[in-house]
């Protein structure tokens, strides 16, 4: 199983609309990617390593797929529709990581 993590850096002037993300963007992603998308999780940053320090990321979204190939086959044709919705909820420069799930 692979996990595609999209991380939204917490920098000065950054905004992230969690309500839009959870209730408009993620449903759009689910609809466009269909059954290739095996799971979704979403987190909102609340802090960093030292108590009281800011979270490195405003939010993280994680999408599960069977394989890199399954992700690319599902995402490629929908990339433009999905990415064009991003400015509706954030002005951050997103960081994308593709990972293999080990545990």
């Amino acid at each position: 199983m692979i996990k595609v993590s999209v991380l939204y850096p917490n920098k000065e002037g950054s905004r992230f609309d969690m309500t839009y993300y959870c209730y408009t963007h993620i449903p759009l992603v689910r609809r466009l990617l269909g059954p290739a998308l095996k799971g979704v999780s979403v987190e909102q940053g609340v802090g960093g390593q030292v108590p009281g320090s800011p979270a490195p990321y405003l939010a993280m979204g994680h999408l599960l797929f069977e394989s890199v190939e399954a992700f690319q086959a599902a995402f490629g044709p929908q990339a433009q529709a999905i990415l064009s919705d991003v400015p509706n909820y954030t002005n951050t420069q997103l960081v994308v990581q593709i990972s293999e799930v080990k545990l």
Copy 2:
């Protein structure tokens, strides 16, 4: 539910021993944190946004707790024992994010 994510940046000269992490470090963390730890997931970075680009992080470990207070109460007394094991599997400067699980 909150998630404590530990991210290991992928920089030149960085090393991360996934076998040690999964089979020695994570079991140590489970044993020391006890029932406060509600779940663990581990991922190994395989790529970035552009196909063929490097993963931003060599690995990510995610630990679930009921609340920030539950995490701090469990982790605080064990912090030294857990953190002193880190050099056994990585030389990276780890990034810690505490998040609230939204979806």
